[in-house]
Symmetry: C2
Subunit: 412 residues, 2 copies
Amino acid sequence: MAIKPKPVGPIPEGYGAREGELEIGCETASRLIDRAGRTPVFLYSRALMEQRMAHLRGAMPERLKINYAIKANSFEPVLQVMAKLADGLDIASGGELDLVRAAGIDPERVSFAGPGKRDVELEAAIGAGVTLNLESEGEATRALATAERLGRAPRLAVRVNPDFELKGSGMKMGGGAKPFGVDAERVPALVRDILSAGCEFRGLHIFTGSQALDAEALVEAQANTLALAHRIASEAKTALPKLNMGGGFGIPYFPGDTPLDIGRVGEALAQRFGDLPDTLAHAELFIELGRYLVGEAGVYLTRIVDRKVSHGETYLVTDGGLHHQLAASGNFGQVVRRNYPVAIANRFDAEATEVANVVGCLCTPLDRLADRAHLPRAEVGDIVAVFCAGAYGASASPSAFLGQGPAAEMLV
Amino acid sequence: MAIKPKPVGPIPEGYGAREGELEIGCETASRLIDRAGRTPVFLYSRALMEQRMAHLRGAMPERLKINYAIKANSFEPVLQVMAKLADGLDIASGGELDLVRAAGIDPERVSFAGPGKRDVELEAAIGAGVTLNLESEGEATRALATAERLGRAPRLAVRVNPDFELKGSGMKMGGGAKPFGVDAERVPALVRDILSAGCEFRGLHIFTGSQALDAEALVEAQANTLALAHRIASEAKTALPKLNMGGGFGIPYFPGDTPLDIGRVGEALAQRFGDLPDTLAHAELFIELGRYLVGEAGVYLTRIVDRKVSHGETYLVTDGGLHHQLAASGNFGQVVRRNYPVAIANRFDAEATEVANVVGCLCTPLDRLADRAHLPRAEVGDIVAVFCAGAYGASASPSAFLGQGPAAEMLV
């Protein structure tokens, strides 16, 4: 009885075949592995990041600034590329501040959001001139005390827990009780407090969700965000110097996912920007994106070390796995596991002729890279590519699990 | 309106209060943090590991050997303790072999299972005299070729994909198509092949599942394991020098979980051992346990950096989170998130007076340590304890996520 294949996610645009192999940045997968010296390896394409940013800027109103959220991928060569392409950078910890500084990026371009900032992190950020997105009244008090101790005027924005959500997003970050930001109705009072304490006010940060593929949902959330920002600014009796409108731009991972229509999002934003209230008329308007900018520019390559059959099913066992690809394995926020886009990298233009399970080398049934994928027949030594590996791959996976250690990473 | 609390898991035996605080190894949580120098920190109690092993040996037949699967916790001081307490050690990668050797443990006490062993790992293991649990015919061929190149007689066991499962186990590893081991019906042929190739035969490895709390399910799986081992040995026309009967002994994590009745498991094993067939009469009989030996001996301590309210719910934001506690956050194999056992460590004997959400410091809604737990009122600076943190905590979590880095670890 033939085993019915399960679909895999769509391979992102920009990947083609060369000499029968997957080509990344004008080189074949095999040659890139030779250069990296080992598998598994994450490859990040500079050209695809540049194209993505150019395409996005073309679709968005000129006034909109685009920040890069480094949590998506903080590998230093990627950071360097993104620091040049983006208007600013967003960090989520003191550790990420260290990464940004080590990469020689001006901390004044950086803002810091995160619900559990320690005193040492506040101190490092204020000392460096980083903008803090305050997550609570308590954090505001600690930040002001720290700034006073340092003799600095801190750069403070307030993160708002919005009273609406980004519909259809992979992760909702608004519309109810949340650990992030300050509930919208308490924000005006906090803004007045920090203004009167003599901070350099950097406006508001409103993040409603992430990984949305539905343009209309984003359009609605952005309209709500602008309206909420205006309401808060009016109540606080201040204009906003800046407004970080959050992110939410998703990428297709799974079968049936289609790319976000950024043309539609940009069009709607342009219309809103043409008719802004006084409180926002002179604001710098930002979005902050991570996954959308780098996710599809990355590919994870792992070598097949065993090919085996069990009860009629074929298993391709690789030298990689969930220790580098937690989300692709289905263990990071997913309820139902679905297949990421995968391919046999060194038989990229070959016809699919068999149904195989691709698994990692870990001794746990959680370590799955593709269930019953329809693939060209692959042998020991062949290379599996997992796409959409540019964001939340290397850094969001338990690389020390079972003594494995991190994958190689390379910008190409 | 009062918020209804969600139950938390049961705090393991052996933890009491001292000066109002959680006591671990005769010291208070606060003093242990002072010694560690920082939070978050994993504390592992040597006394609790020793007690666990003594209790287990008391319940099991004397003939049964007990191995420690270092994947559960390979922090070197823990490894040292477990190497003394256990009869042997099980590893799952070349990286774990390096850890074992760095700890000065004799590799001849070690066996290596894992579906994706690379050639370099086979070479290191064979060279060191480690027993390989072969996962496929292909791996057998590669192992024999490597051994020939090294001029060594390899120590080989065959891992069996059993044709039954451990009922009610957290992870099933038998009873159908699996990437682990060789399907039972093909094992006799493989055993004959490796015997005739001149290996040092080390018997069979049959692993049916993990994290079972139902003694009767374990009793049944162990009976099936012994019967299958006998059937394979008879067909292969050889007695078994060793039989690794796998693990599966679970610990209570969640509300309603009750401890495994090891008395019942030991009793049933003793009865079986009294009536073994010829093929097993002289076999060394093993179980291999990780989580059961060290899981409850570990506590994760993290400091509260913010206390905030959103839409009527209280959030205690800590300096730890899913980057150290992936499973406790509900993101490692669970379908429905339930609360691990948690407590306010420095108010350990105080009455619960409020319902609070305990979250980590990461900027993601996945970072939850306890939902709506009924706890004593806690303030910024107080310490949250997450129990059952001795296994699959530090090593199985994405510590680099959001630039955070690993927690401290300390044996006490």
